[in-house]
């Protein structure tokens, strides 16, 4: 059974279609890159799959059941700039938020939850910064805290919205390592991604999106010059064809 099946998702803002008839199905344990120009609806697709914005039409199934019933199986890493980093809290506290779903309403985090949060911080190399106020972290460190939080959630399917944007090389490396570890553990990860140069190295599958699905499938066969031109409306000229057709 595929961990994620998206059927004919259509989204409109102010009576204007921003996503049309998006369907795809992801096999277990794959890293999927979502690629497309600005305004192609990449973030919108993630938010629509997570029910943050209403879908006009379409369904999302997680392990065979509607997303609404499988919420706990889905982890989300929002864009880093979506929160106020001056919020009075520390890194460990943010990672602990990933455990809230397990802890349940109104109960306090147990020792076990704190241990898990610490392990997750360790995995992204942020253990020394556990007690650091979050505004004092660099952009890359903040991104790693967000990733640790998603890990702490212990989901089966992960949605990550542009985790590679504005991070340093060390963080990029840490993220890639983490993605591969998640994959080894049979998790399925969807990543909104911008850098066309690294798509082949990072992802098993790609979804080329521009309001509609231009192409979806294994990176080897789908990430071709023609498809990219089609996705970006012929605006990608800086890429030499050697990068694309491997």
């Amino acid at each position: 059974m595929n961990p994620l099946v998206v059927e004919q998702v259509t989204v409109a803002y102010d009576r204007q279609l921003v996503l049309e008839d998006v369907s795809f199905s992801v096999p277990e344990g794959k890293l999927v890159g979502i690629i497309g120009p600005n305004g192609a609806g990449k973030s919108t697709l993630m938010k629509a799959m997570l029910n943050f914005i209403p879908r006009m039409h379409g369904n999302v199934f997680v392990y065979g059941k509607p997303y609404e019933k499988q919420r706990h199986l889905v982890g989300y890493v929002p864009q880093r700039n979506s929160v106020d980093w001056d919020f009075p809290t520390n890194a460990l506290d943010v990672v602990l938020m990933g455990r809230y779903g397990h802890i349940g309403l109104w109960k306090r985090p147990r020792k076990e939850d704190v241990d898990i949060a610490m392990q997750c911080l360790d995995k992204v190399g942020m253990l020394p910064y556990a007690k650091r106020q979050i505004s004092q972290l660099s952009g890359g460190q903040q991104q790693r805290v967000f990733l640790a939080r998603a890990l702490a959630q212990d989901a089966s399917v992960y949605f990550m919205d542009e985790p590679f944007v504005g991070v340093d090389a060390a963080t990029e490396k840490a993220i890639v390592q983490l993605l591969n570890e998640l994959k080894m553990r049979g998790k399925t990860v969807l990543v909104v991604h911008h850098d066309l140069q690294t798509v082949r190295d990072y992802f098993d599958y790609v979804l080329l999106l521009n309001k509609r699905v231009v192409a979806f499938g294994e990176t080897e066969s789908v990430f071709t010059y023609d498809h990219i031109q089609k996705t970006y409306g012929g605006k990608v000229t800086f890429l030499s064809s050697t990068h694309i057709v491997g």
Partner: protein, 262 residues
């Protein structure tokens, strides 16, 4: 929020005919809700940004509230009813039953906040994530809004509509300078608010100046003190730290220069 509540309170008074906290609460909630809808409407259908929309709507509502308040004072014998005190607040106008209501509300608030602290924290910090892990965001947000409206309406009598928002925000701002933990900040904000209230009410009693402005003056004094003298985040400690760093740098520079000469 407090400004938007004023017309609702006046209309509630006109309809009901006498002072009643519950009726005022309903009126305030209604006009607060209408104001929110107006703001959202403006943001969605015009090019005006949210902050400007808030400014426009709140001042219109406040103006409307003042007009109604003046009218009540002239026509309904409002002076006797004590609604006039809603503008600047008068703690002395609180009756025994008002105090009971205040107590019950305060206790309810503290319990609600204690019980749902973790949830309030996550929906304030990262609403999208909270929604993703199944926290009932809209319900809790509603509860939070209800708590705020209740506080506003109940506080109106004591500090008045003009300064209510200042009383909501200033103690929290002051508390932020002393701590990096939301738990402590919440507690400290409460303590600061209580201190300002106490001092303001006492001063009002002996000077015959309205309570509201005095409470806010004390709250602002606490804020200024925190702003200047808080360790780490305060202005003075920042200046001192910068000074020390500069000195260290100068020593290092000197050592480098000497080293080169040798």
């Amino acid at each position: 929020m407090a400004h938007a509540a004023l017309p609702g309170i006046c209309i509630a008074f006109l309809l009901y005919g006498q002072k009643s906290l519950l009726v005022f609460l309903i009126g305030a909630a209604c006009s607060g809700y209408i104001a929110t809808v107006c703001i959202q409407f403006i943001v969605k259908h015009t090019r005006i940004k949210e902050d400007a929309a808030i400014g426009i709507v709140l001042s219109v509502f406040f103006g409307l509230g003042i007009v109604l308040l003046t009218w009540i004072n002239q026509h309904e014998g409002g002076n006797q009813s004590g609604i006039n005190d809603f503008l600047f607040g008068k703690a002395a106008s609180l009756t025994g039953s008002d105090v009971n209501v205040l107590t019950v509300t305060a206790v309810t608030m503290i319990i609600t906040i204690l019980v749902f602290f973790k949830e309030f924290k996550i929906i304030t910090f990262d609403r999208a994530f909270a929604q993703g892990i199944g926290v009932p965001v809209s319900l809790l947000n509603g509860v939070l809004m209800f708590l705020i409206v209740s506080v506003v309406v109940i506080g109106l009598q004591a500090v008045g509509v003009v300064l209510m928002s200042a009383l909501l925000i200033t103690p929290a701002l002051a508390a932020r300078y002393w701590t990096e933990k939301l738990e402590w900040m919440t507690l400290l904000a409460g303590v600061f608010g209580a201190l300002s209230g106490l001092a303001g009410a006492y001063m009002s009693l002996i000077t015959y100046v309205p309570t509201g402005p005095l409470v806010i003056i004390f709250a602002t004094a606490l804020f200024l003190f925190s702003f200047l003298f808080a360790p780490k985040r305060g202005l003075c400690s920042k200046i001192i730290r910068r000074h020390v760093e500069r000195k260290k740098l100068r020593v290092k520079q000197l050592m480098y220069e000497r080293g080169e000469q040798l």
